[in-house]
Amino acid sequence: MAKCFALMGWSLPVIESMQKTGKPFVVVSFPDFEPYAKENDIPFVPYQLDEWSDTSNSLDLVEKLNAYNADVAVPLFEETVEWAGALNSIYRNDPRVLNRAFLFRNKAMMKRKALIGGLRVGLFEEVHNKEGVKAFMKRLNEANLQLDGEEDSWVHIKPFASAGTVGHRLLKSMNQIDEECEDGDFPCLAESHLSGREFSCEAFIHGGKIKFLNITEYVKLGYSNFIPEGHYLESKRDLIYKHVQKLVDIFGIEYGMVHPEWFLTENDELNFGETACRIPGGHILELCGKSYEFDALAAFVQIHDPSLTDEELAEILPPEGFKPKNYHGNVMIYPHKKQFSKLEIPEELNNESYFVDHTLVPPLSTQKISDERAGFGNHFGTINFKGEDPDRMTELLKYYQKVDFYV
């Protein structure tokens, strides 16, 4: 069993879960958190994680963590994936662990790896300026046999190394490239539009095998999801399982959790979108834990430990074949208007039997939203639902995503 987990990044829910397990851990994060950690008796190593220098590097960090006997590093956030990779490659004495971490941090490299391994991916290319995007769109148009007057093929651009939807743009025409792309966007990955129904998986991997597979149904990307998946995706579970295992094999992932996003087409083909190996957004592990009745955060941390026995694994993961009693879902609420002054909770929510709770807060006097949003911007709170019928759940999440809570 691991002597001590090094949690890479500051997350109160994860710390709380680890405290409950009674397993030793130490948190590595920015010095700003140190006073709070001291006050609350949280083992803590302050580290300038955004710096790479003589005084800030993995060898130095390993030294510091030796005081805690740390032997397993766990990436909690996108930005700490390389740090955890570097530490684990030292702990496991396997340099390729670090290289694998880079896979997760460079979307172009990630796609190439997937392509080589035989997963279906879209057409993609690294681009360095607007002209590059236009050239990419042009080639895509040609490949799609575009005729005069027909619309351009859609192109997505995304930064190589950002989480989820941050910095993501969808470009539908040549004009839009001129209007919307900024110099700061480059270099980045340009990618053809993948069609199909989007969903994510959270696969807990140990010894290179999936030990538990969660499927998260996206009702609307960035806004709402629920767990377990609805009837349709559930009927494709085997197919999905096979693809995730294939991904794990191709990437050579041994320990940890992967969070790939897929597009399922009507012909039952799975297109690979991208994958991450940190805690997914959208409170997914919270929902997952509730539905499968286990501490998903504690499991996420511990699954990184190569020395776990099968018995120990069985203790931290839901039993095989476990059928959740309820669907848990949430919708993240963003203001619809640019200017608003009040939080208004609609009456029907009070009487909604699926409603669990919400974390909405009122705006600060009259608040304006700036035009610049990263990804989908910051949401103002989450509404949680719970119930037995996935169709009703879908309906509710769709509905409340459209309700304007901020007026």
Binding site: L12, P13, K342, D357, L360, V361
Partner: protein, 662 residues
């Protein structure tokens, strides 16, 4: 899918459990989720009493740790309202905090606060929030709080009021009754509730000023004459008594009954029995029983038959507050106007539309099946005609409609009756705006989302129509580079409104333009020292900025300037109708409109002239007349007003000094 009460409680308990299980690290996050359950529970009365039962445990489990509610002894009662205004989650925490105070005040153990301290705190909280306890919201509350938050606050305070030991706030409540009744509101339900509350919870038997005051009001409802007080007479026994007593005794009953009503503006059931008895064959005593002034008595002599039949038709032991209205209908000699007589006659024969009938009964607190909707409506009409300044908007954003009803009642009573008849029978209303007919049922929604039926009957049926028409007129006048009220007011209210219009707010630049010029016109048009001592004739529609007690801008409000006169101390005051019927107003900068003791007639609010001027942004005036007096207005007066304006609501705007061609 409606959920049951128990499910709501279960969800709360689930969330409470998760909160208790959370470690300190995520306690606040779970507290905010728990607060969303508290929010929902506080929307119902059952929910509030459930929360009350759990409040001590919520406190002990650390709901408030790390928040400003953590130390109960440091709570500041005057801040409670602000916290409620802030909405969820603050308001939800506040509700549990106040409920735990109640628990501690009633003896629950706490090592944080003693019973007496909890009790004092709670009393103070109640005193500062009577508007919620009595469901009588102030303008700033209405402007800021959402319907949902209002509902929560009202639930909380009615619960607190019914459960709190409230000896400490007796005097405050006594003054509150006086404040409400001195305005002679048409709708007396709040006054009655408050008086009943005081009667149930206190023994005002002493000789103090407050005891005497309170007794007057309690007696007006329970024992308006000496006989009833002495005998503790039931209504049945009272009927026996008046049928068998001597002529002298009957006379003194009539006089005392009339006096009690005149003194308080409140009518009791006994009054109905007596009056119905007297109109049968004791006509000589009717004027006394109605508390008539000289003009009223003359009117009685002239129209005895009509009055007797009105009384017999309308007044019943369950429909009696209208007696006060009738008294003033006679006092205002309204029956001497043929159109009013004819209008009332028409209304008596009206066949009420079933939809309207529903609305009428909805506005009656506890409608009695022996009273018809028409009887209620006729009674309500008498009240509005008799007490034009007692018309209020209730808890609705419909100051414009209330202002109209009040004005028609004062100056076009027959027109008002005719509107009542049209709406009552057709559930529709037509007005003309710039050569186009506006029919209310064909129009979109007005300002009211859902009418709060804590309203007098006439308002309850008219306002939905007036509100739509008003809103439509506003829509059609938008985008004309000046305040739409310039065109809407004269069209809506009628030819009594001068067409001259001044607004200091400039629509194109969203700024205050030439405020000095604006105030100069106001003084020249209305201040007796500058306008050749001319008096205000008809109510002048005025738009004002409502400000908080810190002088901060809250929103817009419609009122009517009724007259400008010297007050008892010789200063010029503006007397106005605030359809909000608010007694406790504090607009900041020491500007506190009063409702009595400064020369106000019942229903009027008043302010020193310059303070009034410091809150206005638009008014109608006679532009031909005023121009001639502009040069008379002293600069000092203008600067005084300007300073007040700039340091309060004016902070929300840019000020452009450039003179405007008015």
């Amino acid at each position: 899918m409606e959920i049951t009460k128990n499910q709501t409680f279960e969800k709360f308990e689930e969330s409470f459990k998760a909160f208790q299980e959370a470690s300190d690290l995520t306690k606040r996050e779970h507290a905010s989720k728990l607060a969303s359950q508290i929010d929902i529970l506080s929307l119902s009365e059952d929910g509030i009493s459930y929360l009350y039962k759990r409040s001590v445990e919520l406190d002990e489990q650390g709901l408030f740790s790390g928040t400003s509610w953590a130390e109960p002894t440091k709570l500041i009662p005057t801040l409670v309202k602000g916290t409620l205004l802030a909405g969820h989650p603050s308001s939800s925490f506040e509700i549990v905090s106040d409920l735990r105070l109640l628990a501690y005040a009633k003896g629950a153990e706490s090592n944080m606060i003693s019973q007496p301290v909890a009790k004092t705190l709670l009393e103070e909280v109640l005193v500062h929030n009577l508007e919620f306890a009595l469901n009588d919201l102030s303008e700033d509350t209405r402007q800021t709080m959402s319907e949902r938050e209002v509902k929560k606050a009202i639930n909380l305070f009615s619960f607190l009021l019914s459960e709190t030991p409230i000896e400490g706030i007796y005097e405050k409540l006594a003054l509150e009754v006086d404040l409400i009744c001195s305005q002679r509101p048409v709708e007396t339900r709040k006054a009655r509730e408050l008086i009943r509350l005081i009667d149930q919870r206190f023994q005002p038997s002493g000789e103090s000023k407050h005891d005497q005051l309170v007794r007057t009001f309690i007696n007006a409802l329970k024992a308006p004459t000496t006989f009833i007080a002495k005998e503790r007479s039931t209504p049945e026994a009272y009927i026996d008594f008046i049928q068998s007593c001597s002529a002298d005794e009957l006379k003194s009953e009539a006089i005392e009954m009339g006096e009690s009503m005149v003194r308080t503006g409140l009518v009791s059931q006994y009054h109905a029995y007596l009056l119905l008895y007297l109109v049968k064959d004791n006509h000589a005593l009717v004027p006394a029983c109605l508390g008539l002034n000289e003009r009223g008595s003359a009117e009685w002599e002239k129209f005895k038959d009509i009055i007797v039949s009105l009384i017999s038709e309308i007044v019943t032991p369950n429909n009696y507050q209208c007696i006060y209205g009738l008294s003033w209908v006679l006092g205002r000699n309204l029956l001497s106007r043929r159109p009013v007589r004819a209008g009332l006659e028409n209304l008596r024969r009206a066949k009420i539309n079933p939809q309207v009938e529903k609305r009428i009964l909805k506005s009656i607190d506890d409608p009695d099946s022996s009273v018809t909707a028409l009887q209620y409506l006729l009674g309500g009409t008498l009240k509005v005609l008799g007490q034009p300044l007692g018309v209020g908007q209730g808890n609705n954003p419909t100051c414009q409609s209330a202002r109209g009803i009040s004005m028609w009642s004062q100056h076009a009573p027959a027109k008002l009756i005719d509107m009542i008849i049209t709406v009552a029978t057709q559930n529709n209303l037509i007005m003309r705006f710039e050569n186009q007919d506006l029919e209310s049922i064909k129009l979109g929604k007005g300002l009211v989302e859902k009418l709060d039926f804590n309203l007098d009957v006439v308002s309850a049926i008219l306002v939905p129509h007036l509100d739509r028409i008003y809103n439509e007129m506003m829509k059609r006048s938008m985008g004309r580079a000046d305040d739409p009220h310039r065109w809407v007011n004269p069209a809506m209210y009628g030819h009594w409104i001068p067409v001259g219009f001044a607004s200091c707010y400039d629509y194109t630049s969203n700024s205050i333009l030439d405020f000095e010029g604006f105030i100069r016109i106001f003084y020249a048009a209305f201040h007796p020292l500058y306008n050749d001592n001319n008096q205000v004739l008809y109510p002048i529609p005025v738009g004002i900025y409502v400000t908080s007690n810190h002088g901060d801008m809250l929103g817009f409000h419609a009122i009517s300037l009724l007259r400008v006169d010297k007050d008892p101390s010789g200063d010029y005051r503006a007397y106005f109708l605030n359809p909000n019927n608010e007694g406790r107003q504090d607009w900041g900068q020491d500007i506190k409109p009063s409702v009595h003791e400064n020369g106000e007639k019942a229903g009027e609010s008043s302010l020193p002239f310059h303070q009034f001027a410091a809150r206005i942004y638009a008014f109608h005036y006679n532009s031909l007349e005023a121009t001639a007096h502009l040069h008379l207005v002293e600069d000092e007066s203008i600067q005084e007003v300007k300073k007040l304006a700039q340091e309060s609501w004016g902070k929300s705007y840019n000020w452009i000094e450039q003179p405007k061609l008015w």
